[in-house]
Symmetry: C2
Amino acid sequence: MRTIIPFDIADPKTRLAPILTPDERCWFARMMLSDVIHHLREAGIEPEVLATEPVDCDPPVTVDDRSLDTAVNDVLARTNGPVAVVMADLALVTSTAFEQLFSPDAEVVLAPGRSGGTNALIARHPDFRVNYHGASIRDHRRNARELTNNVAEVDSFRLATDVDEPADLVEVLLHTSGDAATWLRQRGFELAATDSRVRVERDSNENSHGPETTPRRS
Amino acid sequence: MRTIIPFDIADPKTRLAPILTPDERCWFARMMLSDVIHHLREAGIEPEVLATEPVDCDPPVTVDDRSLDTAVNDVLARTNGPVAVVMADLALVTSTAFEQLFSPDAEVVLAPGRSGGTNALIARHPDFRVNYHGASIRDHRRNARELTNNVAEVDSFRLATDVDEPADLVEVLLHTSGDAATWLRQRGFELAATDSRVRVERDSNENSHGPETTPRRS
């Protein structure tokens, strides 16, 4: 199945600015992309990257600098057959979670993200289009049901967890040992648990401008 | 399988204090408990409530005013056979998610919650004990693996989403129409989506001290 991973090159992950420099945010986004590509391949899927600028990675890259919705909907309109769209910041994802995404034989498959997002979807209906703004899962449910009764949702914590904010790094460090988690640990991030809350702390001895890690896997 | 739902009566859901009165927090906690009981029963499980004080609900109630860990571990120690422990604030849960929890035939089954919690677990190994403080999922993984190689984890957004903070009400309103969601809507809460974020707003015309809703289902 044609599977695209939208990837925004310029100033990614702005809500991580309190704890990562602009350069680090680019690297961290790149590590999460690497994890997503790796686990898609483990699930037997060869993805394409739909990027706002050229990016050096192993899968084929299409550059489209228009908005996310416009670029994705252009792919949906031009593709004869099913299309999967998977977000690039699913640092917790596993091949098993992707297998779960690809298993329902529905005309539209939706994987909700936290806070109303849509972290992955499959469009088998030729008229399905995306709208990622606001509570996109609500809009995608409505759009899908206007087209077909054959809509499925996938219930996965790993697909639901995109990484946007400093608190989300807790999930990365707790639940995965992929490129993104390894990169965070190498940059000095670790879990700090009190009785009631868990947060990330950064070891100030780590050099935040030291050599970057190359993604191991893509 | 013996399935217990710990339920703290006194001053529940303190992190919702910015938007719910103490009395409302008690009612909202009760509505979420009702949803959890309902969906366990739909999955063929008759639960028990393990409460800090007497509570009027349909399942059998055991009162134990000791700490959560002490009370749950006492049940684990006294029970000859498997025990499931399910948190009371899983407002998004469905019978399908519970069926997923109960399906692995492992000695310990863990369902991670967001931010390092453990929202549901099954202990078939007689020596497994809980410790819900801090990053409990990390401790429970370690405890389980010290006892057995037969440990399973359940990947479910609905089991992972406990409701603690005002932002969590977004998930309740987006993904369920159970007692908790109905109660919130009746109290004037609704989704407000901007382009980038989704939040809950409360209609100030709703009377925040009006008649309470009775749980429909337990």
